[in-house]
């Protein structure tokens, strides 16, 4: 069960209409290392995690990723909602506009739709937590790339927050991995 709060986890301030930037940011909405992939990956892994605190961790991080998904969506929406025809063309947003208008769609920056092939579930918590650590690093790198190409100060501030959370989650998954390894080491009967 989830309860929605009418609140963004972190403030979003967008300086000006910029469909080109929205087209790049959409990768963290529906791209391979985006927030949808993250949320669905972690929430799905809960059922085969071996300990309650690991189940709590993937629940809590997976839930936070949904909040990040909403932050990305809010930025993309604000960057495009007032865009006129010329701005959509100039921003290379017109191909997406043909299929979706200004609606958000789960796609990467090249327009590839989201697929479950982006995420794994192996029924092995050591494998799954290792994937989670890699996923956080891939997301961090994507945020680095986005920061390289962003000059909107409000968007930069929010992207820096999101990048920081990837680093924190990488740390938490690393701790959980060590604890799960210890858990299995203690359970061995010789």
């Amino acid at each position: 069960m989830w309860i929605y709060e009418k609140k963004l986890q972190y403030p979003v301030k967008v300086s000006s209409t910029n469909p080109r930037l929205a087209k790049l940011l959409i990768s963290q909405y529906g791209g391979p290392d985006g927030e949808l992939s993250a949320a669905l990956r972690y929430l799905n892994q809960r059922f085969t995690m071996p300990t309650n605190n690991t189940k709590a961790l993937v629940t809590d991080i997976g839930t936070e990723e949904l909040a990040h998904l909403e932050i990305i969506a809010t930025m993309c929406y604000k960057l495009t909602k007032d865009a006129d025809r010329d701005q959509l063309f100039a921003g290379n947003f017109d191909p997406s506009f043909i299929e979706h208008g200004k609606a958000l769609y789960y796609q990467d920056a090249n327009g590839n739709p989201w697929t479950a092939a982006y995420i794994q579930a192996k029924d092995d918590p050591i494998t799954d937590l290792t994937e989670d650590m890699a996923a956080e690093q891939k997301a961090r790198t994507t945020y680095n790339h986005l920061l390289d190409l962003t000059d909107d100060p409000g968007v930069i501030d929010t992207l820096r927050f999101l990048r920081e959370r990837e680093i924190v989650h990488y740390q938490r998954f690393g701790e959980a991995l060590v604890q799960v390894e210890d858990h299995y080491a203690c359970k061995k009967v010789f």
Partner: protein
């Protein structure tokens, strides 16, 4: 959204973020007394803020959607991307 409401929303975001971070930390540090104290302090502060925000402005969750007898303010109040 008025400046007063925006300031209170920012406070909710700050205390909420403190809780989000501590919650995940505690998931892998189950007996960290200092983190537990910090979490409990933040949770109490958040509950008070949530109650005041919902009573003064608009409900934060549908649990808070009871500050009026005459209208369903959960369905009337803005969503975060519109304010």
């Amino acid at each position: 959204m008025t400046a007063e409401q925006a300031a209170m929303m920012l406070k909710l975001q700050q205390v909420g973020m403190t809780m989000d971070d501590l919650r995940e930390y505690l998931d892998t540090h189950l007996y960290d007394q200092y983190a537990l104290e910090r979490f409990n302090m933040a949770a109490a502060e958040y509950a008070a803020l949530q109650e005041e925000y919902s009573r003064t402005y608009s409900p934060l969750t549908w649990h808070d959607a009871c500050n009026s007898d005459s209208e369903w303010n959960w369905g009337l109040s803005d969503f975060p991307w519109d304010y």
